[in-house]
Assembly symmetry: C2
Homo-oligomer: 187 residues x 2
């Protein structure tokens, strides 16, 4: 980036640059755009772009408060009732970032994760592992809806548990699945 571009162009570039990488200091930006630090600051002011620390904080806060939809938490959805070894209920508030951008339809694995999650929660064992699952999605679900998952232990044989999970969205069943979970209590 040697050339000096026009103000408008520079600001457009600046905006883009910072939106997909907010970690630049003003000083680093002076080298990139080959203008003085004052110009950069003026640009940020005009564009309403906050300072580095604010930008970084925003990124951090966004990803911190998020219930870590998947991966982090051991349970997907909010556990609202649990009878260990028998049954359990969980609620999952679906959000935009669980859906396909174009259609707003919730991606299947989120629903699956909620189901798997509640299925494992009801098992009265330290650690469980999904062995086999026979699942059926019934309706596409748009983001913004609350999903209520009900799990029931239907049978137990040795360290194998058979759990049925049904997920509803405003009375309508939208998912059902049969999970076979294997406890691995003693290694």
């Amino acid at each position: 980036m040697k050339k000096r571009m026009s103000k408008a162009e520079r600001q457009k570039e600046l905006k883009k640059k910072l939106s997909n990488d907010p970690f630049f200091t003003d000083e680093e930006l002076t080298n990139i755009f080959n203008v003085s630090i004052q110009t950069i600051r003026l640009d940020r002011l005009e564009l309403g772009i906050p300072e580095l620390r604010e930008r970084v904080k925003n990124v951090a806060e966004k990803n911190h408060s998020k219930v870590r939809s998947l991966g982090g938490k051991e349970i997907v959805g909010e556990l609202i009732d649990l009878e260990l070894g028998k049954s359990g209920i969980s609620i999952l508030e679906t959000t935009e970032d669980m859906a396909f951008e174009k259609t707003n339809v919730i991606r299947g694995h989120h629903i699956f994760a909620q189901a798997e999650s509640i299925a494992m929660a009801v098992i009265d064992a330290e650690v469980a592992l999904t062995g086999v699952a026979n699942i059926k999605y019934q309706t596409p679900i748009k983001s913004g809806n609350k999903l209520i998952a009900k799990a029931e232990v239907v049978r137990q044989r040795g360290n194998k548990y058979f759990v049925h999970v049904f997920i509803y969205e405003s009375q309508k069943q939208v998912f059902r699945g049969k999970f076979i979970l294997v406890s691995m209590d003693k290694e």
Copy 2:
């Protein structure tokens, strides 16, 4: 938090507090623990906890660069081969945060997500939705392993696609699933 606790106790609390909420300034911490700011700084020094800005930056960086294992990206795993409408291959590098803390066994939905993802990728249609999936997990997978998913379109009827997905970990099959995907090209 009125009481003055022992040094050891305070440091334990401090560590915990900052690990699940890194956004406190030293000054805020003085109020929480009812000690001087110097003590807080000494504690952080002894515990090797960096300053607020560093902590925030770390959170931001972690969640920024991360391939957003699930949710963000439209594809889970790295697409390495694709013949649209026919077949596709993807690789997923499993990491610790996809696994259960205690056992290091990868959580089922990550595997499912990879499978669903590659299944949808091979479909020659703008948007697809998982209709029915009949899946089987075969072996527990420890984190750190590479999963290779192969998807194949076996049949197409109207806007319904039948896709088989197999996932392997070093030659061994660890998952198989049959997906029925419904394209929703024209609303």
